[in-house]
Symmetry: C2
Subunit: 278 residues, 2 copies
């Protein structure tokens, strides 16, 4: 999906919600566990219920890999299901990969190539290894790199705020430098909602880039602050919520609860789109 299609989707659904499919086998409703593929059944129900309010889905690969081959099969089925909804949602492999050039090429093939088992629109990448570790993810048409910049977790403080002699922190260097490797049409940044006070600064560095924002919901970030300081005339935001939506309830009626939570977030987002998208 290209940038304009993504913007159109956001405008049409009046939403910039990304639902994180962190479908932990130990947290999904118990009644699904006797199905042949509980994780896929869970994902399909969540997707069906939340699709009207959601512009992106983001399976975090850790929750699939932790179930081994079986988990990867659940991911494949989920991706096949999402592929049939191509115009209705943007898909993100939350994989946080990155390796030397020839190896990153393989990861890109794994998750961004139409020939592979997992034809995502975008994938998250860690910046530590620099240019040749990132560039291979930029070569697929209408596919996106989403580079970690300022993450939502406590450990973000360990290295991301490290300042150089000019007082410029590492995450700023990542945002600056990476824009030499890709453009706003194929590069987004991960910026945690728990860092909302940094969003004005981030917008100085990347005025037109899309930001993928984890950290609202269970992690406690503020959707209003993110919208106020992070939104652009094209929206420029995909705000993720995982646990607060997908695990809203664990009864047989879980999908309805997830839908209600997604709708609640979408309605708030609709308000902020009117207020701040300019």
């Amino acid at each position: 999906m290209n940038r304009q299609e993504l913007i159109d989707l956001i405008k049409r659904k009046k939403s910039f919600l990304c639902v994180g499919l962190d479908s932990d086998i130990n947290k999904i409703p118990a009644h699904l566990l006797d199905r042949e593929d509980p994780i896929f059944e869970f994902n399909r129900a969540i997707i069906d219920a939340t699709l009207p309010f959601t512009v992106a889905y983001k399976p975090n690969l850790a929750f699939y890999e932790s179930c081994g081959i079986k988990g990867m099969l659940s991911l494949k089925k989920t991706m096949d299901y999402l592929s049939n909804l191509k115009k209705e949602c943007f898909t993100i492999a939350d994989a946080k990969r990155g390796d030397i050039g020839n190896t990153s090429e393989q990861y890109a093939k794994a998750f961004l190539s139409a020939e592979g088992d997992f034809d995502f629109d975008a994938m998250t990448i860690a910046p530590y290894m620099g240019e040749d570790s990132v560039k291979p993810f930029t070569i697929y048409k209408d596919k996106w790199v989403i580079l970690l910049a300022l993450t939502s977790n406590k450990g973000a403080n360990d290295f991301q705020f490290m300042e150089d002699i000019n007082g410029k922190p590492l995450f700023e260097k990542v945002i600056n430098k990476s824009q030499e490797w890709a453009t706003k049409d194929n590069l987004m940044f991960v910026c945690g909602a728990t860092q909302a006070n940094m969003f004005s600064k981030i917008r100085e560095l990347a005025p037109d880039s899309f930001l993928l924002v984890p950290g609202i919901g269970a992690q406690g970030g503020s959707l209003e602050e993110v919208s106020k300081y992070g939104m652009t005339k094209d929206c420029g935001l995909l705000v993720n919520s995982s646990r607060a939506i997908i695990f809203a309830n664990s009864s047989t009626d879980f999908a309805n609860f997830a839908q209600q939570e997604a709708q609640k977030v979408q309605e708030e987002m609709g308000k902020y789109l009117e207020l701040y998208m300019k």
Copy 2:
């Protein structure tokens, strides 16, 4: 495998060679391609041929993920095969993962848990997200985190050498800080052989830690320099070679060629162990 067992293995085999199983489906010998699982057949032949000269095997996950579910099945079969050789080799998932705490727990379960499909001794981790992204990999007994510090690729220059106001580069901060989270008994560092001039410095920061050293062979680093400046009284090195060994030849006799290359490296290593292990 714990630290002492690893050291004993190195002494017994007079080798600190790690063979990188970067088993690219496009590079393995053509005659294997009509087998049911060409990648596994290739790996098994390489392992059988190189085991006497090798202390560790390191599949890079990118080469398996790029083949989708089929590739992950090849990886599982390879790990099952390696599991039967437990006392004979250390196993590393070159995965370069890392995420927020609850998610890193899932990656750790995927690759370090005896209950999972992939029961590796160690896995490589990217440090960008800090403490809570790394710690979940340290909780499994006799399992190891191998943290990226100074990588062998050109892109290493983009961020890893960024200096703080005291002139201390990022990779040094990573080495220092992470030793608050784990010990020499469960934490190693990735330090590229192409950075051999930095090994004295690295030994000041991590005098007793094992280093996983990629970059000899195809990437051009010097085994002698790495040994001279990086070796400790316990060896403290695992030096990886991938392409130069596994793709030494693509005829039906490929395994013999791989064996010869591995033996050549082992013989050189034996010499350096006598010279520098003190």
